[in-house]
């Protein structure tokens, strides 16, 4: 019986007999937040079992209550949240512990936290203390839960660090978190979580903040450790690809409710609920180029290739290479190295790469938001060729009407103190002056309708909108002055997967209607495949591969691209393969170049 999980209380009796492998039983869990505006049911009647050696993936979009579920199990729900009902039972060889009856501050629950059940958090930067060494932080749980002496503890920590594949554990044990990379920090977190051989490991989006190649390593590691120690893993994620890659069982959550659960094959191949179908559908949809894109590409092939609308030649950007007060010349970081690209009229050029690859810097240099160290940008606009690098402040304003940007974070990029109308009207107002207020108002109303919002929304402030709606406002602002080129910097990364394809479709519609050209910066291969005509792959500031999106995504030629693509988990449990992925080891010359 692989499916004991169910939301319906009449199917699973309150005290269903549990088989020997079950280590944690959650029944009808309810957690509520009492807010000024009412009671928010963050978790509403959720039930599942965790089994030895098996992985349960809890999947859902933002706000679905998956993190609160995990925190409720450990009784660390933040104020003003409160567990109001249900049972959480930990099955230990020496008897069951009814966690839901324990006081959240009692020593009994503290004895369980970190020993029987441990947790890994999403943000490896903020979940480690910056002022203590990694060794000290791991040692803490050993001091609390074991009676090992000091030298035995140190030995154990070195063992653990070795086990999570941290190089040179004898030295790195005494290092501070800032000396670790993001992936190493997450490994250290895992080592900390495993210090006392827990029976249950709760991983709350442990790879979301990491690059795909690092994510693949961490997923591998968790899998290996699970095989070795046989703990039950509860893995929280919003990424259907990760679910397909690692899950044995899946529980889908939506708005605090438990929608559906079952084995990973059942969920992916025979989902019962509409919400599950929609989630999987959105993920699978992004595995293929968009139908609109294919149609547009067919159109374009009939027409002769024109001149590129934007040409970048030999662009370099070095940060911080200036001399200091004390005369020592800093080496600087070579963020963009010798990049040359062309963007055709009506084309979408994707720029993919991992964090630190220089893709965002490249986008910002194109817009002169950063001043490039050297290089040339040529824009062929309405009034002939423009040398972007030689523009002064005033003529840069004119360029900014033709070249627009869509930002990643829909929360930070809209001024919370301006109404939607003021935000969208800003580029119009700065160009046309304040005179024709009525015309601007009409234009804003028109733009709002075009991005799928209502004209009467214009008096509202950004806080009245959800993330997806805010991104639509950002798009309306970008479209306001009738641009030719839009630089979209991770425009869909902050959105849930179901919204992602909606926003991409919206952008494609505008591209078709307005003959827009896009530079689409992303770390997400699937959105690039869905949305782009051509792709440039960046690695350490350089473009390592440039070609048609399909060719690059399906038959990559550069070793780095291969490694990157094979690390991307596919939303199909039958195609598990990131543990068989290509690994790219930078050659010695690359290493030197990056110094």
């Amino acid at each position: 019986m692989s499916q004991t999980v169910s939301a319906a209380p009449n199917i699973v009796p309150m005290r269903a007999p549990v088989d020997a492998d079950t280590v944690l039983t959650v029944r009808h869990l309810k957690t509520e937040f009492t807010l000024r505006t009412g009671v928010l049911k963050a978790v509403d009647d959720v039930s599942f079992d965790l089994r030895r050696g098996k992985t349960l993936c809890i999947v859902g979009e933002s706000g679905s209550g998956k993190s609160v579920t995990a925190r409720s199990i450990l009784r660390i729900v933040p104020e003003p949240g409160k567990m109001t009902g249900g049972e959480v039972i930990l099955h230990r060889p020496d008897g069951d512990v009814r966690i839901h009856e324990l006081d959240p501050r009692s020593s009994a629950i503290r004895a369980i936290r970190g020993a029987d059940i441990s947790m890994i958090f999403q943000e490896p930067m903020s979940s480690l203390s910056p002022v203590h060494t990694i060794g000290f932080q791991i040692e803490e749980s050993l001091i609390l839960h074991t009676d090992l002496d000091k030298s035995a503890r140190r030995k154990r920590i070195i063992e653990l660090l070795e086990r999570v594949e941290i190089p040179d554990p004898e030295q790195t044990i005494d290092r501070y978190p800032f000396e670790y990379s993001g992936g190493m920090r997450q490994r250290a977190m895992i080592a900390m979580a495993l210090a006392c051989n827990p029976k249950v490991l709760i991983a709350d989006e442990p790879t979301t903040a990491l690059d795909v190649t690092t994510q693949a390593e961490i997923l591998d590691l968790i899998q290996e450790l699970q095989d070795e120690f046989g703990m039950a893993v509860m893995f929280i994620t919003h990424d259907m690809g990760v679910v397909a890659e690692i899950a044995d069982e899946v529980a889908v959550m939506h708005q605090g409710r438990h929608v559906e659960s079952g084995s990973v094959e059942d969920i992916f191949h025979a989902p019962r609920e509409d919400y599950t179908k929609m989630l999987i559908g959105s993920a699978v949809r992004l595995e293929q180029p968009s139908p609109i894109k294919l149609r547009m590409q067919a159109e374009r092939e009939k027409q002769p290739e024109g001149q590129p609308i934007l040409s970048v030649r030999a662009m370099n950007k070095v940060f911080g290479a200036t001399g200091t007060v004390f005369g020592r010349k800093g080496q600087g970081v070579h963020a963009v190295r010798d990049v040359s690209i062309d963007l055709m009229q009506g084309e979408t050029l994707g720029i993919v790469g991992e964090s630190g690859s220089g893709k965002t810097t490249l986008g910002r240099c194109l817009m002169r938001m950063h001043e490039p160290t050297s290089g040339e940008v040529l824009y062929r606009g309405r009034d002939g060729e423009v040398d972007v690098m030689s523009l002064d402040r005033r003529s840069l304003k004119d360029l900014y009407a033709d070249m627009r940007m869509i930002f990643q974070d829909p929360y930070a990029s809209l001024n919370p103190r301006m109404t939607v109308q003021q935000i969208i009207a800003e580029p119009l107002r700065n160009r046309q002056g304040h005179g024709n207020a009525a015309a601007i108002r009409d234009r804003v109303a028109d733009l709002l309708v075009r991005v799928g919002l209502k004209p009467e929304h214009m008096e509202r402030y950004p806080h009245a909108f959800s993330g997806g709606q805010r991104q639509r406002i950002g798009i309306a602002r970008a479209l306001a002055p009738n641009p030719k080129i839009i630089v979209a910097d991770e425009a869909t990364s902050a959105l849930d997967v179901s919204l992602r394809s909606q926003i991409l479709d919206l952008l494609l519609e505008f591209q078709e209607q307005l003959d827009l050209s896009f530079i689409f910066i992303s770390h997400d291969i699937s959105t690039v495949r869905y949305f782009c005509d051509r792709v440039a792959v960046m690695y350490r500031g350089e473009i390592v591969e440039l070609g048609a999106a399909r060719a690059v995504c399906d038959t990559p030629s550069h070793a780095y691209t291969k490694a990157l693509l094979s690390a991307v988990p596919r939303p199909d449990p039958t195609q598990r393969g990131i543990h068989k992925r290509h690994r790219y080891v930078a050659s010695a010359s690359d290493e030197r170049a990056s110094q």
Binding site: M369, Y400, R404, S413, N415, M418, L453, F465
Partner: protein, 388 residues
Amino acid sequence: MSAMTDPPTGAAALPDDVVSIADARGAEVAGQWRLMWWKFRQHKLAMASGIVVLLLYLVAIFAEFLAPVDPNAFNPRYTYAPPQDLRMSFVDESGDRHWGLHVNGYRSEIDRETFRRTFVLDDDDRIAVGFFVRSDPYLLAGFIPASVKLVGPKEAGQPFYVLGADRLGRDMLSRVIHGARVSLSIGLVGVFLSLFLGVVLGGISGYYGGWIDTVIQRLIEFIRSIPTIPLWMGLAAAIPLTLHPLMVYLIITAIVSLVGWTDLGREVRGRFLSIKDEDFVAAARLDGASEGRIILRHMTPSFLSHIIATVTLAIPTMILAETALSFLGIGLRPPVVSWGVLLQEAQNVRSVVTAPWLMWPGAAVVIAVLSFNFLGDGLRDAADPYAT
């Protein structure tokens, strides 16, 4: 989260039930000031303090009307007269109760050994007290001619010392009320001067950064390292004695704020630094907004509320500075009436022992400073309604 449902893509047709904008008066259309007000309202202590501050300023504005007598009117018959109790009724010899607001008059007794004159309240001597009594004509708030006082003895010239009298027989209540005017207003001059300097220099420092930031920050550090009390004392000595005492104090406040702007300057610099890298500021730049517009329209509203809160917290510091300087004799001097000047009278132990009511201005200072601090705390908490 039900708000997560997005409308369908593409050009949606206008719905029939178009809600008029005037109807939508919820949180969606609430600007930052309204959100701040909602948040501030929950802070009960700050609300109460805000009301107290408001009342204090009303007292300062209508001082002539509220004070029973002229603060400088002296009466040698009543030096160090103790406070009288306001009474609602009295019982006469026959045991009947008579209603009517009154205070008791004084009977002086001479101590046979020390020949010191002391006052005792005379229960038989009743001075009727009334509201809206006639008085000598005066100018209310400096320009409205009036001749009515809120409260006073019905018969002019009768002793009326609810908070006692000082060594020249001047009414403490009237002096505390008039002192509020100077104490609560003169600090504002200093605060606004520091505000101006702080916002301009801190803003330049934070927005432009680089060498100019370094210069301004080192200047701030230098200014903050100057010991202030000796500086003030030296400056007070340097100001010509022929100037009006109020003018002297204004000059000193200006000097105090030349030191005091540094705190605000750092605050503003910090705000600029944190906001200048926000995406919405980058977006404004890409929208073609000029530097002036970016600063005034896009950035300033984000920290205006913080500055108001900081200013509210700076006012009590100024009030305390005035009190301290005047107490030391280097701030305001008589005949100007301020709380600090009044407290000078309470400098020696002997007068405090014999006339503890001379400490009343101190209570006024405590109330004003606490109210401003609570109000400032509440404002600071409410200042960023978008922080989670």
